[in-house]
């Protein structure tokens, strides 16, 4: 579905992403994991060309994305990020309706779609439709952000630490809901995070980035079992230790 081929980006002559090749299967969620400066956000933004690659290419369904104008490409890809970026001068409904209106959908069709999506992200349309984004809680805002990203029925979703600024309970709830939506809609997704636990919970596979290069890619189990290098091993220690700690509090022995 999505293929990155030798994707490279330089900033001021320095490679931030360096020759990255990866594939993501249809309906799969791939987590891009790494510390700050590992190049995970830059990689994500090169997929919808918010950042232009210095070299290399991205194919979606075999088609080189460089063939499309950037704005047309982005209309076909959902994008969610930590700052959410709801437009404060537009109502909730107007925010959700943006991409369909850019695509020239029929207004009645847009209205139906907005209500359907607000319901889907568990915001009652009649209550939230005409609210200003500023009047919503952080969790509610990110629900609107998710609805906006899904509005034009994209098949690919890019998410950049979308739940990073939320409190743990809200984050947990939204993670579950997102997984449900993703499965229902059979979305292919790339999810950037530096949170190991989130990566293990959500990822079908995890790609670990280290200074712009791919350190290892595999299922959570593979990464936990056989880390490819010391960096990956160190990353995996954190969730392991947390799990052991939790088990001890619950009075159980750690692992087999």
């Amino acid at each position: 579905m999505i293929a990155l081929e030798g994707l490279t980006r330089h900033f001021d002559g320095k490679a931030v992403v360096d020759g990255l090749s990866l594939t993501v299967a249809r309906g799969e969620l791939l987590v891009l994991l790494g510390g700050s400066g590992s190049g995970k956000t830059t990689t994500l933004k090169m997929i919808n060309r918010l950042i232009a690659p210095t070299s290399g290419r991205v194919r979606i369904d075999g088609r080189d994305t460089a063939e499309l104008p950037g704005h047309e490409l982005r209309r076909s890809i959902g994008y969610c990020f930590q700052q959410i970026g709801l437009f404060p001068h537009m109502s909730v409904a107007e925010n959700v309706a943006i991409t369909p209106s850019l695509l020239g959908w029929d207004p009645a069709e847009i209205r139906r779609r907005v209500d359907e999506l607000l319901t889907r992200v568990e915001l009652a349309p009649e209550e939230f439709r005409d609210r200003a984004p500023d009047a919503l809680s952080g969790g509610q805002q990110q629900r609107v952000g998710l609805a906006r990203a899904l509005a034009a029925r994209p098949l690919v979703m890019l998410l950049d630490e979308p739940f990073g600024a939320l409190d743990p309970l809200t984050r947990d709830r939204l993670q579950q809901e997102f997984q449900q939506i993703r499965r229902d809609l059979e979305l292919t997704a790339i999810f950037v995070t530096h949170d190991m636990v989130e990566a293990l919970l959500l990822g079908d596979r995890i790609a670990v980035l280290e200074e712009g290069r791919l350190a290892q890619v595999g299922t959570p189990a593979e990464l936990l079992r056989s880390p490819a290098n010391a960096y990956v091993e160190r990353l995996m220690e954190t969730p392991r230790r947390q799990a052991e700690l939790v088990d001890r509090f619950l009075g159980r022995d750690a692992g087999p």
């Binding site: 919808n48 704005h71 982005r74 209309r75 076909s76 994008y79 709801l86 437009f87 850019l102």
Partner: protein, 514 residues
């Protein structure tokens, strides 16, 4: 007071027309330019720098610069059959438009630059083109800041527009300049209050429009937009009404005698020929001459000594009166096609004046006596005086060494002398205030100051196309002696009569007597 009130609608309309059009041009240039600059951040410091430099030019100077600039441009466009007036509406409009650029431009750039980067990223991510991002996200979010700039520009432009009077554009400044020159405080107050009221009104309307748009209140937007549209429509209609045959343009400089003489000439023309006149009051001295030479002005009164020294650049100041008049007349005709329709019969020369009591205490009557005591005295002069050739000759001949010299508004100069802030002033020999304030003029015993015969100057066009007007003006030759002029000046300066009333009385008295 009532006479002043009658002038309000005309001045207010002209002021509004000038301000609104300047703001429209300013915003029309600055907002697109500001947007363009946010796309080319490297050019931003340079362009904002130029706009700032324009802003630092004193507004009066910027307006004055436009006159020769437009006259030069007018000479060029004339060849393509497009006439462009060097004085009046056009130069004032250009200067005010330039003046409104900086606040709008700066706020447009700042408003767009300060849009949250997350919103810019979101706008791109949802698939907006650059243009859609600008129109749907950046401009709406920057609008409060841009409108704040527009409001600043509005207050500046409406205020500064009062200074367009000396370059021949009618504005509420007509009240202020003529009021200051003729000591009519009611007129000054009227001009200031009207301009301030207009600035506040426009500011409030723009604010109402912006708040209404932000809060999506149809009522507020409706009221503000309708009122603004009404004002624009009204001024546009009054603009359309100014077409047709051009009336005779009668100019005056900014002092009492000039207002009276302009009224007198206009009334003389209207009653004798029936031609319509339009008065351009309070012009700068060189503005008036340049405008006459360019044909933008048809008639005004100047003085032989002024032409002799500033236009002809003649250094030999001690020439006899008749010789100067003859040479000036020939020079103006030969070089500019300007005619001298009449010599009015009086001289208004520069003279140095003092309070009578102080002159008595120091036993001064002649300029030669003044030189030895000058280091203990301060002198005040009008804005031109210390730059003039006469002042340089006075210094060279008498060897004055005043403790301090101060340029001041002629209207305020007399008060400064009265209150002892200065000891000597540059005065005009026909000034009614000389008697009113009990001043003495010191005798130019070494004959340095040239003759200053008041002469009626007429444009080449008027000479060619309006022989009847020429005849009406020539009838004023020798009609006014110095005493008569001083009396008329005093009636305005001391008694607060309107220049038009005084002029009318003079003409009536003249036609009654055989």
């Amino acid at each position: 007071m009532i006479e002043q009130l009658a002038l309000v609608p005309g001045y207010l309309t002209a002021h509004l027309r000038l301000s609104l059009l300047a703001l429209a041009i300013g915003a029309g240039v600055s907002i697109p330019l500001g947007v363009w600059l946010t796309r080319r951040p490297r050019l931003e410091p340079g362009v904002l720098g130029v706009a700032s430099v324009i802003q630092t030019i004193p507004s009066l100077a910027l307006l004055a610069i436009m006159v020769p600039a437009l006259a030069a441009l007018g000479a060029l466009t004339q060849r393509f059959g497009v006439p462009l007036r060097g004085i009046g509406f056009a130069p004032a409009l250009i200067a005010l438009s330039l003046y409104s650029v900086l606040p709008i431009l700066r706020n447009t750039v700042a408003g767009i630059a300060n849009v949250d980067p997350a919103l810019v990223e979101a706008a791109r991510a949802v698939g907006m083109t650059d243009r859609q991002r600008l129109l749907r996200v950046e401009l709406p979010l920057a609008m409060p800041v841009i409108v704040a700039g527009l409001r600043t520009a509005t207050v500046w432009v409406v205020g500064t527009a009062t200074l367009s009077t000396p370059i021949g554009a009618t504005s509420l400044g007509n009240f202020i300049f003529s009021g200051l020159a003729t000591r009519n405080d009611a007129a000054v107050l009227m001009g200031c209050l009207s301009a301030a009221g207009l600035a506040l009104l426009l500011d409030a309307l723009i604010r109402l429009l912006e708040v209404g748009m932000r809060e999506r209140s149809r009522a507020r937007v409706g009221v503000a937009a309708a009122t603004l549209a009404l004002l624009c429509g009204y001024t546009a209609l009054s603009f359309a009404g100014t077409g047709g045959e051009r009336p005779i343009q009668v100019g005056s400089k900014a002092f009492t005698e000039q207002y009276i003489l302009a009224e007198l000439m206009a009334q003389q023309i209207e009653t004798r020929t029936g031609s319509a006149t339009h008065k351009l009051p309070s012009l700068g001295s060189t503005v008036a001459f340049d405008a006459l030479a360019a044909g933008d002005l048809d008639v005004y009164v100047d003085y032989t000594g002024t032409i002799w020294a500033t236009i002809m650049q003649r250094g030999d100041l001690e020439a006899p009166r008749d010789q100067v008049l003859g040479e000036v007349t020939r020079f103006l005709d030969a070089t500019h096609g300007i005619g001298v329709a009449a010599a009015l019969g009086f001289e208004n020369t520069y003279a140095l004046g003092m309070r009578a009591d102080q002159a008595r205490d120091l036993s001064l009557s002649r300029l030669s006596d003044l030189a030895p005591v000058s280091p203990r005295l301060e002198i005040g002069g009008d804005y031109e005086f210390f730059q003039r050739a006469e002042w340089k000759s006075l210094l060279a001949t008498y060897g004055f060494a005043f403790a301090r010299q101060r340029s001041m508004d002629p209207a305020l100069m007399y008060r400064a002398l009265q209150e002892g802030e200065v000891d000597v002033i540059s005065a005009f020999s026909t000034d009614g205030r000389i008697a009113a304030y009990d001043l003495v003029l010191l005798d130019d015993d070494r004959g340095v100051i040239p003759p200053y015969d008041a002469i009626v100057l007429v444009s080449a066009r008027l000479r060619r196309e309006h022989p009847d007007v020429m005849a009406a003006l020539s009838a004023l030759d020798g009609a006014i002696d110095a005493a008569a002029m001083r009396r008329m000046n005093l009636r305005v300066d001391r008694d607060g009569e309107a220049p038009s009333t005084v002029a009318r009385a003079f003409l009536a008295e003249r036609s009654d007597s055989p």
